[in-house]
């Protein structure tokens, strides 16, 4: 609409990316944010929806914009269903379906699918292959003995735990991310080198 062009609202619009760049289409299909306020989304052209900062571009043309603003009540699914799937998504991230693995000193992180491993030995072997290191031998009293590398994980409460203490099923549902600690820091978690 003309008056909006005059106001140059685009300049003050919230969006990701450097100023002057066009936002590219996001591949992530997220279920609409429950907090979208304004639902006066008239078909006559530009929507007056308050842009969701993480996922919006304002389109002043009628033709399909690169990425649509989110609108209340779309897609039309019951909030009960929407909430339960969103809860599961964040839970899936927390419950070890795919977790990030970092290794002290490595330039970038990896991601692994925890569910494909049957038990701790399989997981540890996979980590060893991925990062080219060897863990020591595990014992309940002493942790990992014989190597300066110690596998640890962050659990649901945000605490860093030693891998191997709890039963496997419990581990995969509570592990949020993995970290292979190295050297002196590792010693604090019971690594006896």
């Amino acid at each position: 609409m003309a008056f909006e062009r005059d106001l140059n609202l685009e300049a003050t619009e919230l969006r990701l990316g450097l100023p002057g760049t066009q936002e590219s289409r996001s591949n992530k299909r997220s279920l609409p944010d429950m907090n979208i306020v304004d639902d006066q989304d008239h078909r006559s052209g530009s929507s007056r929806v308050i842009a969701n900062a993480s996922n919006a571009t304002k389109s002043e043309e009628e033709t399909t914009p690169p990425s649509k603003t989110q609108v209340v009540g779309w897609p039309p699914i019951r909030s009960y269903r929407k909430n339960s799937l969103q809860a599961k998504k964040s839970e899936a991230e927390a419950s070890g379906i795919y977790v990030k693995v970092s290794m002290d000193g490595a330039p970038y992180l990896r991601k692994i699918h925890l569910n494909i491993y049957k038990d701790y030995p399989e997981l540890l072997k996979a980590l060893e292959d991925m990062f080219k290191f060897k863990v020591g031998e595990y014992s309940e009293s002493e942790g990992y003995n014989g190597s300066e590398f110690v596998p640890t994980y962050e659990d649901k409460d945000g605490d860093w735990m030693l891998v191997g203490d709890v039963p496997w099923e419990m581990f995969i549902t509570s592990c949020k991310r993995l970290r292979v600690m190295k050297g002196s820091e590792a010693r604090g978690l019971g690594c006896a080198v």
């Binding site: 429950m34 078909r43 009540g73 897609p75 699914i77 009960y80 569910n115 039963p167």
Partner: protein
Amino acid sequence: MNYFPDEVIEHVFDFVTSQKDRNAVSLVCKSWYKIERLSRQSVFIGNCYAISPERVIGRFPGLKSLTLKGKPHFADFNLLPYDWGGWVYPWVEALAKSRVGLEELRLKRMVVSDDCLELLSRSFVNFKSLVLVSCEGFTTDGLAAIAANCRYLRELDLQEIEVDDNRGQWISCFPDSCTSLVSLNFSCLKGEINLTALERLVARSPNLKSLRLNRAVPLDTLQKLLMRAPQLVDLGIGSFVYDPSSEAYIKLKATLVKCKSIRSLSGFLEVVPCCLSAIHPVCQNLTSLNLSYAPGIHGNELIKLIRFCRKLERLWILDSIGDRGLGVVAFTCKELQELRVFPSGVDNAAVTEEGLVAISAGCPKLHSLLYFCQQMTNAALITVAKNNSNFTRFRLCILDREKPDPVTMQPLDEGFGAIVQSCKRLRRLSLSGLLTDQVFLYIGMYAEQLEMLSIAFAGNSDKGMLYVLNGCKKLRKLEIRDSPFGNTALLTDVGKYETMRSLWMSSCEVTLGGCQTLAKKMPRLNVEIINEDDQMEFSLDDRQKVGKMYLYRTLVGPRKDAPDFVWTL
């Protein structure tokens, strides 16, 4: 008119069960009206504000089963403010004061308080069945009252409800003398549950046929429950997480084999997918499968499961099944009648027109469809219409609003047109994608049995809405959002709305003046303007567009419980 004594006619009426038929019967003559109303046991009220509880009780003193619906459908999608209405307390209060022997109460989209549940539980000695769908407003304290006081309770069924406060002790409130349970569904409750109490309850319920658990029920409890209730017909599994080599799993596998009556399966709210082989023996007898809350089951595990389900009649699934998975469904499930594919919100998970075409080709008995997809083409819809003219419910939701046919870049008018032309028994239709007035012309021309139509982001002008209002003689519910229909469409045939249950229009072009004109002409309609943001100053500007309008026919005038932001014109 009457050649038989009243008792004989009443006995004949016993065979007339559908409300529609009984309504017709009651119009024949005064005598039949009287006999019918005194013998009616089951009443369905599609809009709780269309009539008052006192009048219902007055007409049907023999009432045993009452079904009530409150909020309009679009309330499901957050288009209606929280406290718009739909409180059931006045109904329960009126029923309690009367001498009605209520046995069954079924509510949809209503607000139910703990006080209301308490009153309900204490007022009706023979109360047997409570079914709540998409309701809100109560806590487990209310459930505790129902459990404790309804001595002959047979059915407690909670569907798609967010209950915040969750203390699992309500299940312990069923007295030891309660042995009549047939159906118990608490799958939507989020909190912990007293497992021992649950086990004992199931153990003393020999008639239990339907049991749907929430995610707080672990595997070993599930196994114990199934041991106690091998006669179950409908099972909802909460948590399905365990180690496949564990004893618990082996025990469960053995127990499940003994449950030969299970025909309906749902849940899997928490699942480790590598352990689904225990379920396979159950699959071959399943007629109903709902995995729409189980994002953990996907890919090859899902397809493996489906391959066992040859008798499936109803399938609810997530779009993570993909077109390939739908192809397997089409190949395997020849008895399929109802299919719902919901969006999982997962990257790369999607179904397209391919999946739908495969289903329509492979499943000749399919008549009810809800399909959330990434895209749709006219060609595909035309093929679907050719393959299958049985649809009674056809609800298509293309996730990308106003998306055209990606191949031709045309609107989807022709595709939907083919559907309505082919499916002569179509009663419910939901549209999506890029659509012009043309699709409404087709709907008006061909959709003769259409009772409910949902429109979003569609059409070009008032003509669209007029085609529908003029053409669809059996239309009962029309809901429209974000479409350019205005006062001309609204006001051309005002009498039409008295033949319908309700009309919803939001973010359209109707103005306050138009709504006021309508309200003035039609005193037996409640025309409600729902004004959330204080944007509209009442009576200031007739030309102001109305954000949300909900109108419905009623015999009892404007409702007295409307909150401040709802204006009944």
